[in-house]
Amino acid sequence: MSVVLNAGEINRALRRISHEILEKNHGSADVLLLGIPTRGAFLSKRIAGDINEIEKTSIPVGTLDITMYRDDLRMRPPRTLLPTEIPSGGIDGKHVVLVDDVFYSGRTIRAALDALNEIGRPKSVQLAVLIDRGHRELPIRADFVGKNIPTSKDESVKVHLAEIDGSDAVTIEGRDGK
């Protein structure tokens, strides 16, 4: 197991993503963050905290569970549903930024786009991820990336966050556990 990002590097990456979101959307007006549980939800709160500090504002932030929209439901044992919290103003006409921890096949994001479709019609949908590890299986790309990490499919990338794992780190593990 090797550490590819430490706590400080995660913070700096999120900070940069926050600035990039503001730059791309010309400020924080109509920007709404939706984190994909579990870890994307914590990351979205941190990014919202950064944006609020930079802009002296308070942007809406929520969570979006994609379990019911997955395309592999038939193949796997049932998964527990995680909370979906859409901010009270809804998503219509907003710039929705989806936030996830690891960007891999792209299937999670496809499911998230389907879920958004049920909830409303955003003005635009953007994607922020902490780690992009490649191996896309769908034509989907991220707008904001914390770090690109080339991996092999045998490896697994884990994001640890202080909120649930006790400390911040991103680790990479081979199939043999090294």
Binding site: M68, Y69, L73, R74, M75, L81, T84, G90, E118
Partner: protein, 321 residues
């Protein structure tokens, strides 16, 4: 878990998982999302050999909100009235590719027969069999109790629930006793001795013959319908006497704890086991039970049908035994 035939099929953790899933689905349905694509392309058959309003409509609504295709099949107006056997019906459903069969039958054990004989490969959900069990009703009752008296999470530890009336003929009572005790609640069965089944002592619930002696100490009271259609004998002298001793009225409601709730699985005999004004009182959560039924059945269908990919090609069925 492939079938839901009895509350005994569920461990405590699995039962809580059903309640948690239903809670999340109910929160989503109240808000923005009315329909999920989760079971698109799956077929759910409602096979009802006995009359039902709530359960059948609720399973139908649940399956449709998950985008499944629903086929309703009732004994009246089908070949069942020409004497077709359960086995031939099951083989027909298999041939049509049913992924789940929701069955209500007058004979106790019919759903078990359907599940165990391997006439069909789909999931079987018991929607009430004879005087045996009605697991989804118990789950929605536990869900309603948890919402009102628990923290909308976890189990029902510390609650005391009275089940009153025709326990003898009630599949709802049996499933509720099993589930509520599994979730840590205490159950007291209140009925005249003639309406309690033989061997009720082995259920693990308290038994009382007096409603007035218990009503002040319970957190919820569940009234059971007097099932006239199953009564082949004289179980109590007159309806007036039954109503006076075991019926719920406003006076009795007023003697309950201030936050205690009144439940009834429906259909109600207004004026017999429950007076009209108590059914409509602010303590009554009877209409809410129906709404919760849809969420519970969505949760059950989701948990049973996801992750059950089977080979679509010529799956052979063992006929016979």
């Amino acid at each position: 878990m492939k079938h839901l035939l009895s509350i005994n099929d569920l461990s405590k953790a699995e039962a809580i998982n059903v309640l948690d899933t239903a809670a999340e689905l109910s929160r989503l349905s109240e808000g923005t999302v009315k329909k999920f694509p989760t079971l698109r392309g799956r077929t759910v058959v409602n096979l009802f050999f006995e009359d039902s309003t709530r359960t059948r409509i609720s399973f139908e609504a649940a399956a449709k909100r998950l985008s499944a295709d629903v086929i309703n099949f009732s004994a009246k107006g089908s070949s069942l009235s020409k004497g077709e056997s359960l086995k031939d019906t099951a083989l027909t459903l298999q041939a049509m590719g049913a992924d789940a069969v929701v069955i209500r039958h007058g004979a106790s054990g019919a759903p078990h027969q359907l599940a165990r004989q391997q006439w069909m490969t789909g999931s079987v959900i018991n929607a009430g069999d004879g005087t045996h069990e009605h697991p989804t009703q118990a789950l929605l009752d536990a869900f309603t109790l948890r919402r009102h008296l628990g923290q909308d999470a976890g189990d029902l530890q510390g609650l005391r629930v009275a089940i009153v009336g025709d326990v003898l003929h009630s599949r709802v009572a049996r499933s509720n006793v099993l589930l509520l005790q599994k979730l840590g609640a205490k159950v007291v069965l209140i009925a005249p001795p003639t309406l309690l089944p033989v061997g009720v002592a082995s259920w693990g619930a308290e038994v009382s013959y007096s409603l007035d002696a218990e009503i002040e100490s319970v957190d919820a009271i569940m009234m059971l319908r007097v099932q006239r259609e199953r009564m082949d004998d004289l179980y109590f002298p007159t309806e007036r006497e039954y109503s006076r001793n075991f019926g719920l009225n406003l006076e009795r409601i007023n003697s309950m704890k201030s936050d205690a709730i009144v439940m009834h699985p429906g259909p109600m005999n207004r004026g017999l086991e429950i007076s009209a004004d108590s059914a409509d009182s602010t303590r009554s959560v009877i209409v809410e039970q129906v709404a919760n039924g849809v969420s519970i059945r969505m949760a059950v269908l989701y948990l049973l049908l996801s992750g059950t990919a089977r080979s679509e090609s010529n799956s052979t069925i063992e006929v016979g035994v």
